[in-house]
Symmetry: C2
Subunit: 248 residues, 2 copies
């Protein structure tokens, strides 16, 4: 997952923390609904990392050079290590990692199946767009989590180097043949649409997670705030596409 | 790569070291033919690890459970870290990693293309058989290398945990349905045949490497010794197949 180009307004300044965001895990987890929401969140993130590992390893096969292949394998391996940290944390808080991940397998596998890249550049754009949106989303959520969970979530969102690599390769390809830009812009729009439709599916299915997102459990999230969050994420996406040389 | 079940006679007892095996890299590399042979060897091993990463990541998709998938992803990631060490070493001794790997891409890709597993069990047997044979071979060669190169080669042959995992899963499948054993025994024979034919192709193509293997550069390897080495490797393979419950 990448850390660059996060939304401007991500409210994670430590000084402002109140409620759950000011508590540690031991205190916050006393509320069983909060605990269930965090298990959901870590399960979704863990399977996301495992799926990202598979996707990057798969994309490595499309790499035009051995150096590109090694670069993608490196990122895949970094995603795997993030997965390990999340899985270990689930175990540590007494959750069964496989059970925590299971509810998110269908949506994430569905997303990847619907958006299988047909070439190297589509793979790079997908990894970049997908990781960036996921990273923006988790960063927004992280600001409302207890301090221990927040620290872990932010750590596994650490840039695996993919963003810079993808931007450089895609820009070079568009410079070499401007028609590539039109095709990839369409592709990025399709990715965003599919990501939104799978997210809605997850939110509709997972009560604890959605309750946390729309307020009630973690503080500060109400429906209006969720709307603003999606606006921030969409704006950040538009900026990233422009940086890539693509119209969003 | 796995370290279990190495041939009984692998001559790597430090007390017996003479000639190049008693030298460090700085001394041994003064001979340009030895240097070229080591660059070949590290290049072959590096691409082997990168290809193993891709193969294991690919096999992870066939995994019947999330826990199996995570296990394979872990091994893939371990192979990638071995690749990194070999690539860094190539750079350190002034070789261009991509150039060093290039001569071995066709043979290794050819092997993997000719032996694409059709299911999870075939994938496990392939990883186990392939890694074990490669590991036996490199361990034999390592005993004739300068001390610095030997240490690196032995380190990247460290067990990634695949052997134990594969043996356990394959034995359980044969216990559950003995007919599976017949099919997998045929498969293992096909793998061994394909591995030998691709190795011959590499040896025929790479002068420096073959010269080292059949004596002339590194000490102690003559044609009779190469024959004995292949006997040891084949015997170890037969033992491993028996341990798996397969006739070799």
């Amino acid at each position: 997952m990448t850390s660059s180009d996060t939304p401007d307004q991500a409210p994670d300044a430590p000084a402002e923390r109140t409620g759950i965001a000011a508590q540690d895990w031991a205190t916050a987890a006393a509320d069983p609904q909060y605990r269930a929401a965090v298990v959901d969140l870590l399960g979704a993130l863990a399977y996301g990392e495992l799926a990202a590992f598979e996707r990057l390893a798969e994309d490595a096969k499309l790499a035009p050079t051995l150096a590109d292949k090694a670069e993608l394998a490196k990122m895949a391996s970094a995603e795997f290590h993030h997965f390990e940290r999340l899985r270990d944390r689930l175990t540590e808080i007494g959750a069964e990692p496989t059970e925590a991940m299971d509810p998110f397998v269908a949506a994430l596998d569905g997303f990847h199946r619907q958006t299988a890249p047909s070439d190297w550049l589509e793979g790079l754009v997908k990894a970049y767009v997908g990781d960036s949106i996921a990273s923006d989303f988790y960063r927004e959520v992280a600001a409302r989590l207890d301090s221990d969970t927040r620290e872990l979530v932010l750590a596994v969102l650490d840039d695996t180097g993919h963003a810079g690599f993808a931007v450089e390769k895609v820009r070079a390809a568009i410079d070499a043949d401007p028609r590539v830009g039109g095709r990839l812009a369409l592709w990025a729009r399709r990715l965003m649409g599919e990501a939104l439709s799978q997210s809605q599916r997850v939110v509709a299915d997972r009560d604890a997670l959605s309750t946390m997102l729309v307020g009630g459990v973690a503080d500060g999230f109400d429906l209006a705030e969720v709307g603003r969050m999606f606006t921030r994420i969409t704006e950040a996406h538009t900026k990233r596409m422009a940086a890539l040389g693509l119209a969003a």
